[in-house]
């Protein structure tokens, strides 16, 4: 019949058909939803203030258990989360069910049952795609579903963005722009990654294997999550090294150089151990294993190969071969001298004599903006780079810094201690705000004596005890600082 239609009418029908195909998304659109985030964080510089709230758009993927999977970075500091399916009204309220900054993943729950109607999860593929193309799926702010393509570059073992966990990250190229908002990567209808960052045409994504592990871990109570490596190591790929350490002729083994204050192997391994085998893998002299999913890769991938609570290891110690069982553990907040993320909303601080004291954190350094690694105070950046984690038996819990000097007559002349590290107060070593508060209870006679790290401006600061109650009240009033959240007000 068509052939009898006028040409113009046939063209019009064809155009309508094309529009319908474009407007009607594929089946993947039912596995990903639009996420709207309102974020308001505490101001790392003036920690009693909150920053102006900002709104972001991102994505979340439907996973089993009627949950949504997105990155932790997307939802941290969120004051409101809403989701929208198929890019259409209405919005549904979402809540964070689980957030793990170490792996940069979070699960969201939506209580309204209507939300889940019509949605279905995209199966997660554990097996990495070694080469070739993938599809990128996302929702745009205009309510349109968008699909694009990209090409896999490789999988690389790297540290997580915020924490110190190691896992394989998918790296790829694409021509799509404005990525990095938890878009999904699919291949043949299966989810192979979640985009965590983008730089022009290069993207980074959490691999399907890690997504699957995280989702499985979330189903267990209590949540144990993925584990950290609790030791440092060096390859033994020099023939003289191998001979010296008695490994000549043996094709396996790397050397443990140190242990950390937490993490897998921290308590069982010793400096000087030759680590031959971890989990199911023999470790070659360069630290590589032959992983069934990733092929030749770094042996540290064995730590999170599964969620088993224990990990077998074989070491040579003092010439003896030992079979060890390493509990798979992760760093706690106490294992960091400089926390890479905050698990609490508020930032603890102390204002004394107009000096704002905080515990140094990654969030504080990031407050210098997108170029923070070049612009934040150098000495503090070095501290982060070299001493983020605590050493075993390290008495230093945190690094207390003067984040700001609020000018007042009591701190006249002390303005050059900005960004300095506090060492002692009234003769006591101070490695946390709690210790600072305690030390301020015991002035030295009529004075409080504070000692800063040498080389960063004034080294000693003196405050007169009888002036401090009035001075602190005046400073709080003048600079609009609320009463402290702690009960330390009676200290001065």
């Amino acid at each position: 019949m068509t052939r009898h239609l006028p040409k113009a009418f046939a063209w019009a029908l064809a155009l309508l058909a094309a529009q319908a195909a474009w407007a009607s998304p594929g089946p993947e659109s039912a596995g990903i939803v639009m996420l709207r985030i309102t974020r308001q964080t505490f101001d790392p510089v003036y920690p009693w203030n909150k920053t102006v709230e900002r709104r972001y758009l991102g994505n979340a993927l439907v996973v089993e258990g009627d949950l949504l999977l997105t990155t932790a970075d997307m939802v941290r500091g969120a004051t409101q989360l809403t989701v929208r399916k198929f890019g259409q009204y209405p919005n549904y309220r979402a809540q964070v069910a689980l957030i793990d900054h170490e792996v940069d993943l979070a699960l969201l729950k939506v209580d309204d049952a209507a939300f889940w109607q019509g949605l279905h999860r995209i199966p997660i593929s554990e097996r990495p795609v070694e080469a070739g193309k993938f599809e990128i799926i996302r929702w745009r702010g205009n309510g349109r579903f968008q699909q694009g393509t990209g090409e896999i570059v490789d999988y690389r073992v790297t540290n997580s963005r915020l924490g110190a966990m190691e896992f394989a990250v998918l790296r790829g190229n694409t021509t799509m722009d404005s990525l990095g908002w938890s878009e999904g990567l699919t291949e043949q209808g299966q989810l192979i990654g979640l985009v965590t960052g983008a730089n022009q045409r290069e993207i980074q994504a959490t691999s399907g294997q890690l997504l699957q592990l995280f989702v499985q871990a979330a189903q267990k109570s209590p949540f144990r999550g993925l584990a950290h490596r609790g030791f440092g190591w060096q390859p033994l790929n020099n023939a003289s090294q191998r001979q010296f350490f008695g490994l000549a002729g043996m094709p396996f083994g790397v050397r443990v150089t140190r242990t950390y204050s937490g993490g897998t192997g921290a308590e069982q391994l010793e400096e000087g151990d030759i680590l031959l085998r971890l989990g199911a893998y023999d470790i070659d002299p360069e630290g590589q294993i032959n992983h069934p999913l990733y092929g030749p890769t770094l042996f540290t991938m064995a730590i999170n190969d599964s969620l088993e609570p224990r990990l077998p290891a074989v070491v040579i110690r003092g010439g003896n071969r030992l079979n060890l069982t390493l509990p798979r553990t992760r760093f706690s907040e106490a294992d960091y001298r400089i926390p890479p993320y905050s698990t609490e909303g508020a930032i603890d601080y102390e204002v004394f004599g107009g000096l704002v004291f905080q515990e140094l954190s990654l969030d504080y350094l990031r407050s210098w903006g997108s170029q923070w690694e070049a612009q934040a105070p150098r000495r503090l950046l070095l501290e982060l780079s070299l001493r983020m984690r605590r050493e075993p038996d390290d008495p230093q819990q945190r690094v207390v810094i003067v984040s700001r000097v609020l000018p007042d007559p009591v701190n006249l002349g002390y303005d050059n201690v900005n960004y300095g590290m506090l060492l002692e107060v009234n003769g006591r070593s101070v490695t946390s705000l709690l210790e600072l508060r305690r030390a301020l209870r015991t002035p030295q006679g009529d004075y409080h004596l504070l000692r800063m790290m040498p080389g960063q401006g004034r080294q000693q600061l003196v405050f007169k005890v009888d002036q401090m109650p009035e001075a602190n009240r005046r400073i709080r009033e003048r600079y609009g600082i609320p009463e402290p959240l702690t009960s330390a007000a009676d200290v001065w």
């Binding site: 003289s240 001979q243 150098r378 701190n411 000693q460």
Partner: protein, 523 residues
């Protein structure tokens, strides 16, 4: 004074004003002749008490005494310390201060292989040699042996510190032409600044809005016919901000070389803060009548080390009262109290009046060479020490080595930055230690797998703690066992093992393969 570690990178953004190579205007060479005795000649020309003291030169006479300086330089290579880098051309200015003697900036003639001078209005080039060079104060005295050089030209004489807001003239050969340039401006500031040439030395300098551009370096800045300074650096990005080295610094240089050798500055080594906080003053029991600065720390191994302590208050220096902001009155200017120590030579004393334990006391401090200053400065005219064994290249950590990373703060490993800029302040108990770095691994079978340890600090070699490059050599002399050398990197950074026999065999082969004549140059 060397003041780098308290403010690493403070000199960034300020650049010396030597110019890149300018083609010579003529190619008629002079020749060297016998050198004259330097000290007496300099003082005769430079001092304002010579026989022509009362006769000030005209503008024309000043211009006749200004020289252009064309230099072919060849810096040392701190990444491949056994060799030099490519030659490069540079140019600057200078001026006659005595018969056959020209004053210019150190940075104009650093690492020079050939120096050619041309007097203004005389196209004849004359070979010059560096008679004395003071990298720390960016001054150099050049000597021309040819007696025809400067014949009939009146050497310029030095004046005093100019007053604020008075006018000065800058002469020189900045880029943009071959003719002499003269610009005018006013004295904007008199203060201590970091001299960019070494990046680590702070001295008195004068800021002016008289245009100081690349090529002006070394040229005279005059006032009423007398030289009041040597143009030396500017601040890119700021309009009309140039600096010149004032006569107190120049006079000190000329006095230092009178014995035929430049010894450099003694370093008090005091890190101080102002003394304005009432509570702090009360705590120290400082009478209201006293002003001064409190000592925060004393640089290990500096002149004040062991004599002054944190918490001391310096109230006077050589009888001059120190204000609460650390300044003294100096020729009508408020400048850092350290200026009075700056004027002294090594071996001379400065007397500090100090408030300690609620009592005033006088402390004579003999100024001595500050051994750490060499590692903190950018180095020139200096052969970098190194040691190579089995392809492992070791050097002591230094500013010049860090500069091989381009911008060290962006590219150098954090551990090296912490070690270089902060450790001696934060851990003064280790003050004798000079960190040694494995800077490179020249690949060979014997050192397979060790490139990853490049740019790590070495802790021990065969059990010998490494506190300097010579310790590395000593360590390799005594293997931990008959068969192996063991190298431990600092901070649990790993253990390197070398088969002694194989390393000995490979050593020469590696040197030959990589074109290295000598396996060591020790400090």
């Amino acid at each position: 004074m060397t003041g780098p570690a308290d403010r690493p990178g403070i000199g960034r953004g300020i650049r010396p004003t030597a110019a890149p190579y300018r083609p010579a205007r003529a190619r008629r060479w002079g020749r060297f002749a016998a050198a004259a005795l330097l000290g007496a000649a300099v003082l005769h020309g430079a001092g304002a008490r010579g026989q022509d003291a009362d006769r000030l030169p005209t503008d024309e006479q000043i211009e006749q005494a200004v020289v252009s300086v064309d230099v072919t330089r060849q810096p040392h290579d701190w990444y491949s310390p056994w060799q030099r880098r490519r030659t490069e051309g540079a140019g600057g200015s200078g001026f006659l201060i005595g018969p056959g003697l020209v004053l210019t900036n150190a940075h104009v003639v650093s690492d020079a292989k050939q120096i050619l001078l041309r007097l203004n209005g005389d196209s004849a080039p004359y070979y010059a040699e560096v008679a004395h060079i003071a990298h720390d104060s960016d001054l150099a005295l050049l000597r021309v042996a040819d007696p025809k050089f400067g014949k009939g030209v009146l050497p310029l004489r030095l004046g005093d510190l100019p007053s604020l807001r008075t006018r000065v003239r800058t002469y020189g050969f900045p880029v943009g032409g071959d003719m002499i340039s003269r610009t005018e401006g006013v004295v904007s500031r008199v203060q201590f600044i970091t001299y960019a040439h070494t990046g680590a030395d702070s001295h008195l300098a004068i800021q002016t809005d008289s245009a100081i551009n690349p090529g002006n370096s070394g040229g005279p800045v005059t006032q009423r016919g007398l030289v009041v300074g040597v143009a030396f650096q500017s601040t890119p990005g700021l309009n009309d901000v140039g600096y010149f080295i004032p006569t107190p610094v120049i006079n000190r240089f000329l006095r230092d070389i009178q014995d035929g050798r430049y010894d450099g500055y003694g370093e008090l080594g005091l890190v101080t803060s102002g003394m304005v906080n009432p509570a702090y003053r009360g705590y120290l029991g400082l009478p209201d009548t006293l002003t001064g600065v409190t000592v925060d720390s004393v640089l290990p191994r500096a002149s004040g080390d062991g004599l002054l302590h944190a918490g001391d208050v310096v109230t006077e220096i050589d009888g001059a009262k120190v204000a609460n902001d650390g300044t003294i009155k100096y020729f009508g200017h408020a400048v850092s109290f350290e200026q009075l120590a700056e004027e002294k030579l090594i071996g001379e004393r400065v007397t500090l009046r100090v408030w300690r334990d609620r009592k005033a006391l006088e402390l004579p401090v003999m100024l001595k060479h500050y051994p750490d200053s060499d590692r903190l400065r950018s180095r020139y005219d200096y052969l970098p020490p190194y040691f190579i064994y089995a392809g492992l290249v070791f050097m002591e950590l230094s500013q010049s080595y860090l500069e091989t990373f381009g911008n060290p703060w962006q590219n150098a490993p954090s551990a090296l930055l912490l070690e270089h800029f902060y450790r001696n302040r934060e851990q003064p108990e280790d003050k004798e230690r000079r960190a040694v770095v494995l800077i490179r691994v020249l690949p060979h079978d014997v050192n397979t797998g060790y490139r990853r340890y490049a740019n790590k600090v070495v802790a021990t070699v065969n059990g010998v703690p490494i506190e300097g490059l010579r310790d590395v050599v000593q360590g390799f002399r005594d293997p931990v066992s008959r068969d192996f050398h063991r190298i431990e990197m600092a901070e649990n950074g790993g253990t390197l093992i070398l088969d002694k026999a194989a390393a000995d065999r490979a050593h020469l082969e590696i040197l030959l393969n990589y074109g290295i004549q000598e396996d060591r140059r020790l400090p």
